[in-house]
């Protein structure tokens, strides 16, 4: 970094300048366009007095924490001579499809940035004093990057980026990115709508550093607006609920429901979709994005969904539908089993052996091979991509046997298709180890569940994907490569559904947990107290990495017991969780998958009723449809 030092040979200096230049420009672009990658809100002035990382001092432009994608830039961008093409992609509703349509999202490249070190065909004579020359080069590249930084704020795309990143509302669009060394050229029609701008190149013998952008001059063509189509509502007749299937033994009171629904969701996810992009469902528009055919989920998604969101989370599906009604083509009132059947076909693909999965209470203690399948069904999908947080391992009391067939197959493309929760961009630092408790737990459970499950860390998971995709030259998946703590999986993408994010995090992901209701409730209550707080709390209190299951269970129990008490009543806790979620704009049934009996299920039903009443009284919204 210190260009003043002449210790390095000139060629090394040049390479260093060029590679750091690429990194910095990528950082600037991602920071200014992709909401989910922003580590924190930088509206305030950050005094330079605070520690500035050495790596951040390059080009005298301190930008703060880098998105994880940058850490792995070297992975795909092996040759500094290759151009780095960054596509800023707008995911929005297709103009011809109603918002409720499944798979109606469209991706449009609204900006294409090309940063490269151009190597000339004819190399000019070497400058006499190369060290002074490179100092000048460095100085000029500082100016160029400043100009890039300012320019990012003047282009049309900045406005919608700000909308997404600063507003707490959810929008019907999202911004994702794709980094690669090559790109498909624009079609004529697209080119006609775009303008090009090139920054003056910086001489960096023997070549020069260039930045250029092709951008859409206007974004008014797109129907970008806050999404209002899905008022949160409590789904009381979700599939698998005691209402719809009283005879069914729910895995846990209330939780079972969520497990069910979310399993459903998982089932749904792999529905075949024309687009092979796992990310397409992210924003909830195209739920079917996760096509079962997405074998290498890494392979197909061309774009990055940087935000680590909830797809991975086993968010209770109950509220997912409410928030995104169009995600579910039909209300989850059907019999659980039937629904599964319905979705089986589409999902019948590669690795996902959904066929084996039947709707059954997740984590049901029943030894039948199909029962856990429910869970596994859901979970594989859930575990897919963890977004930025390192999952806190959640003690998984369940024996792994029940999940054996789960065999989370990392290469399972369907796994990638995930839960409908479009991850809301988290403002937390992607590199922080904090993770939404929900996801964390889920992840851990998954991992604990099956022996072959990968380690809990998202990184690891990501890493797997990465290795798989290493052959992909597009570098698209560089985002997948996430440094520790900041998984950037292909699918995870910042979701416009900001409101869901936090709720999901706190949502009880189902996990088989042998503790009694009270503990669970407490846990949930504490979890749902405050989205972020809870997750922090969780992550802090469960720093479990690879402890034994017993230790993990014990720790979780301890945590639950020491959790700030709301009320010791499970029904109250349910209310709380509902309330919390509702505040976030999403009503959901917290879902804890636990081995329960029908008695518990009925109790859960009662608690849900209470929840509903509480919500109705509190929010005043017309939430529930009817009371079973």
């Amino acid at each position: 970094m210190d260009l003043q030092s002449n210790l390095q040979p000139e060629s090394g200096k040049l390479e260093q300048i060029v590679s750091q230049f690429l990194l910095k420009s990528l950082h600037i672009i991602l920071d200014s366009r992709v909401p989910s990658l922003r580590p924190h809100d930088r509206s305030g002035d950050l005094s330079l007095g605070s520690q500035v990382r050495k790596s951040d001092k390059w080009f005298n432009l301190v930008l703060g924490d880098r998105p994880a994608a940058l850490d792995n830039l070297n992975f795909w961008h092996r040759n500094v001579m290759d151009p780095m093409i960054i596509d800023v992609i707008l995911v929005h509703q297709g103009s011809n499809s109603p918002s409720m349509a499944v798979g109606g999202s469209v991706e449009t490249v609204i900006e294409r940035w090309v940063v490269q070190y151009e190597y000339p065909r004819v190399v000019a004579a070497q400058p006499s004093e190369s060290s002074a020359y490179y100092k000048k080069t460095y100085k000029k590249s500082i100016i160029l990057l400043r100009a890039l930084y300012s320019q990012m704020r003047l282009l049309p795309a900045y406005r919608i980026f700000r909308q997404l990143s600063t507003s707490s509302r959810t929008y019907n669009f999202d911004i994702i990115y794709k980094v690669s060394s090559f790109s498909d050229p624009f079609s004529r029609a697209e080119e006609g709508m775009m303008e090009e701008h090139s920054f003056p190149a910086v001489e960096a013998y023997p070549g020069r550093l260039c930045i250029s952008v092709t951008y859409r001059t206007t974004l008014s063509d797109f129907n970008l607006e806050p999404s209002t189509s899905m008022p949160p509502k409590i789904i009381t007749d979700y599939v698998g609920s005691p209402n719809t299937d009283p005879l069914r033994s729910l895995p846990s009171s209330g939780k079972g429901v969520s497990a069910t629904s979310f399993t459903l969701r998982g089932v749904q996810a792999p529905a075949p979709v024309p687009s092979q992009r796992p990310h397409s469902w992210t924003s909830g528009f195209h739920r079917a994005a996760f096509s079962a055919q997405n074998q290498p989920f890494v392979g197909s998604p061309p774009a990055y969904y940087p935000s680590p969101m909830p797809y991975d989370y086993p968010s209770p599906p109950a509220y997912y539908p409410s928030s995104m009604p169009y995600d579910y083509p039909s209300p989850p009132t059907d019999i659980h089993g039937n629904r599964v059947q319905h979705y089986r076909a589409p999902t019948h693909q590669k690795a996902i052996s959904y066929d084996d999965y039947q709707l059954s209470p997740p984590f049901s203690p029943s030894p039948s091979p199909s029962s856990p399948s429910y869970i596994s069904n859901a979970y594989p999908m859930q575990t897919r991509v963890r977004s930025e947080t390192a999952p806190v391992s959640i003690p998984l009391p369940m024996t792994s046997r029940s999940f054996r067939h789960l065999s989370p197959n990392s290469s399972d493309p369907n796994r990638s298709s995930l839960p409908p929760l479009s991850p809301r961009s988290r403002r937390t630092d992607p590199s922080s180890q904090e993770s939404p408790s929900g996801i964390t737990y889920f992840r851990k459970i998954e991992s604990l569940r099956s022996g072959e499950m990968q380690p809990v860390t998202a990184n690891h998971y990501t890493g797997q994907k990465v290795t798989r995709d290493s052959k992909d030259d597009s570098g698209r998946f560089s985002g997948l490569l996430s440094s520790s703590g900041s998984p950037r999986i292909g699918f995870s993408r910042s979701s416009s559904r900001l409101s869901f994010q936090d709720e999901f995090d706190d949502i009880d992901f189902s996990y088989p947990f042998d503790v009694d209701d009270v503990d669970t409730s407490d846990f949930h209550a504490s979890q749902n107290l405050d989205g972020k707080k809870a997750s922090e709390f969780t992550s802090q209190s469960l720093p479990i990495g690879r402890k034994s299951q017993d230790a993990a269970v014990g720790e979780l129990v301890r945590m639950l017991r020491t959790a700030p008490p709301l009320r010791q009543d499970p029904s109250c806790y349910s209310s709380h969780s509902m309330k919390t979620e509702l505040e976030g704009g999403v009503a959901t049934a917290s879902g804890f998958f636990m081995p329960r009996k029908a008695v518990d299920a009925l109790e859960e039903l009662r608690s849900f009723r209470d929840m509903k009443d509480l919500l109705l009284s509190k929010s005043g919204r017309v939430i529930s449809k009817e009371e079973a």
Partner: protein, 198 residues
């Protein structure tokens, strides 16, 4: 060393817009010329849908605000339509100290002229008299249109700055070493020729 001069496109602004516009322009220029370590700070204008970047240095902000206030008071005293504010970057050259004087010479290497056309308030008043009967205030529409025009012009000026900053880089002196935000010495002045005109 040659001095690069940039005449920015003239902006028609109303009195109350001067502060924001000048702040935006001056900070943008300095941001591109303060080549020491900076932590950029995004600032949204209130009157316009424009975001500019500051160096994030409190001292600099104060200094610029002071100069802007100075300029505004000057404009009020001299209600000319056109006015100019000049931001100059220089290098300090210490000449040989003489016995009694320490000559410090300033070598200007870049000068920016910000041209403002401060509109009078007449328009606002005249428009109001017409709208007693109409439901939609034509004055309001006019204001909106005017505001949009100013915003577009402001963006153009910012683009102009970025372009100029990048095209001419050779004349920028080497970055002085030092911690923190390092600025090239600069000054903000009101050119003499405007001071004398009435």
């Amino acid at each position: 060393m040659n001095c690069e001069v940039c005449q920015l496109k003239e902006l028609e602004v109303e009195h109350f817009e001067i502060r924001e516009v000048l702040r935006c322009i001056l900070h943008t220029i300095v941001f591109h010329r303060a080549l020491g370590l900076v932590r950029p700070k995004d600032v949204d204008l209130e009157l316009f849908d424009v975001t500019y970047v500051q160096c994030g240095d409190v001292e600099l902000e104060k200094k610029i605000d002071e100069k802007i206030e100075h300029f505004i008071s000057w404009v009020e005293k001299h209600p000319n339509k056109k006015s100019q504010i000049c931001l100059s970057f220089y290098e300090v050259k210490n000449k040989q100290p003489y016995w009694f004087t320490n000559k410090i010479e300033r070598l200007y290497w870049e000068q920016w002229y910000i041209n403002l056309n401060v509109a009078q308030h007449l328009k606002a008043h005249s428009s109001k008299s017409h709208n007693s009967k109409v439901v939609v205030d034509p004055g309001e529409e006019e204001r909106i249109a005017r505001r949009a025009a100013v915003e577009a012009s402001l963006r153009e000026v910012l683009f102009q700055i970025i372009k100029f900053v990048n095209e001419k880089k050779d004349h920028v002196p080497p970055i002085p070493n030092g911690d923190g935000v390092v600025y090239f010495p600069h000054e903000i002045t009101i050119p003499r020729k405007f001071l004398s005109s009435s």
